[in-house]
Symmetry: none
Subunit: 272 residues, 2 copies
DNA sequence: GCATTTTTGTGAAAGTTATTGACAGTTAAT
DNA sequence: ATTAACTGTCAATAACTTTCACAAAAATGC
């Protein structure tokens, strides 16, 4: 299905720079676009879009192909484009994973929601189904989502807000995490590589490790694009987890490694 | 003939600096503006607006593009996909109060932002102007807004999320509040009546009282509709405050009572 | 005090450049 | 062989730059 750029039929004229920005943004989420998709979403002529793509190609941001363009992502590992990319990398897969995670929760449980876009989808699913739980989180966006449901009691860790994100980090979070006991931890990560879970920043990794100590059952939520080269800070080994929930794009060797380690692996699929 | 009272009612005489401020505010909310939007909302010539944008671009605040400008440090606005440029560029009472409160802050201060819609406007103004402060808040929505500004360090109190709101309450907030020391507290209230500030719920009132104890300067932000019959829980007397910021609809008797009590009263107005 | 220069902000006009959509001819893909 | 996509050109429109004139406020001179 053709995922659309979120352009309502607004009379607001779009700045050329904004249009290019949206194209790049779309590419960050989907990796590729066709000129047809762009034309139907942005309502400008093909000539203009061709010029846009050519320009972006000259800047080295995208690779031009017949009929469209591909994202040129060369510098991945240590620099994290969390601003643009993370919010919606591949929304459909993420929400499937989130639903699967929500399904595995039981009423009355105490659940920690770590920061991250996939966990956010789990929070959405929990709120939508009014599952009665006590939720604890260090992500203020997730707190807001969970707060929409009358069935969920939400507790927020105090702490420092990480620049450019919705995550709380710092000593205060670590201390609070140590003082609680939860049934389940739902968390995400930046990369999973050969059985090692890693993150880009040390303070985020520290928080994740602290949260792991506080929960009986640890469940990792990652879309399959996260099976990629490992980044700076290692968080844990997959053997320390109870379950990993991902989508059906996960590479076979990682799947076997996880199953071989005796960790439950759930593939979230579309209901049919 | 003197131009003393020669101001037409239709046009708003706006100081150049104020006009630019509004442009920046708008950009912080939406990330982009067209010159056309600005012209139709601010009623000055395109030449002037071009000069404004060029100036802001020289200051490094915005990026100039054909037909408009983009915010330089491009940050996602998480809310309000639907907007009317004209409405937002001529702000209402609450945002005027918020701007006045933001103006009174000095770089380097530690400022507590209590929960509430008027305080939220102050947070917006602080974020838009990139005032360098350390912010502490018990409202997760305000935390998100402040987090958009790279100049603001945001600290969030831990606590229980109050059902149906963005406010954190509970013992944990009270304890955290007692352990900090801030220069300024910006807070709102449900009602101000005959010199008494009141709230509808006891846990919210308890938090406000605790925050008052932690701040050297206590400033109450209330639009004039809050001068109304008092509600259940009393929070404090106006005599305990340093300043009250409101709009020009405040009743005369309350104004006199406040001034008589030696409390600074600021009326936020459109232009001067 | 008053008249003046300077400064600053503003709007309008003329000429220049950018962006856009359409069209015709050419090249690539299956 | 037959689409679909690309290249290049062109005219129309929108935006830009530069320049000038005007007004109000601030600084200056007498």
């Amino acid at each position: 299905m053709s995922a659309l750029l979120n352009v309502p039929l607004t009379a607001t004229p779009l700045l050329p720079a904004q249009r290019r920005q949206r194209i790049v943004d779309f590419l960050h989420r989907h990796g590729a676009v066709t000129l047809q998709q762009l034309a139907s979403a942005l309502h400008v002529s093909l000539s203009t879009l061709r010029r846009d793509l050519d320009g972006l190609s000259d800047e080295g941001l995208v690779d031009r192909t017949h009929g469209g363009a591909l994202l040129r992502h060369q510098q991945y590992s240590t620099f994290e484009p969390e601003f643009s990319a993370a919010l919606e990398l591949s929304p459909h897969e993420k929400s499937l994973i989130g639903m699967a995670a929500a399904n595995s929760l039981m009423p009355g449980q105490c659940v920690i929601f770590d920061s991250g876009s996939t966990v956010q989808e789990a929070a959405r699913a929990v709120a939508a189904r009014n599952i009665e739980i006590l939720a604890v989180t260090n992500d203020i966006q997730i707190a807001q989502i969970l707060g929409l449901s009358p069935a969920v009691r939400v507790h927020v860790f105090g702490g420092q807000l990480r620049a450019g994100s919705n995550t709380l980090v710092g000593d205060e979070v670590l201390a609070s995490a140590r003082s609680i006991r939860a049934d389940v931890l739902l968390f995400g990560a930046h990369a999973v590589t050969e059985g090692v879970v890693s993150e880009t920043s040390s303070d985020v990794a520290a928080v994740k490790r602290a949260l792991m100590q506080s929960a009986t059952s640890r469940r990792l939520l990652i879309d399959s694009s996260k099976f990629r080269p490992r980044v700076f800070m290692s968080v844990c080994e997959v053997t320390e987890l109870e379950e990993i929930i991902t989508d059906d794009g996960a590479p076979q060797d990682e799947i076997e490694r996880i199953r071989g380690a005796g960790v439950k692996l759930t593939i979230a699929r579309r209901a049919s």
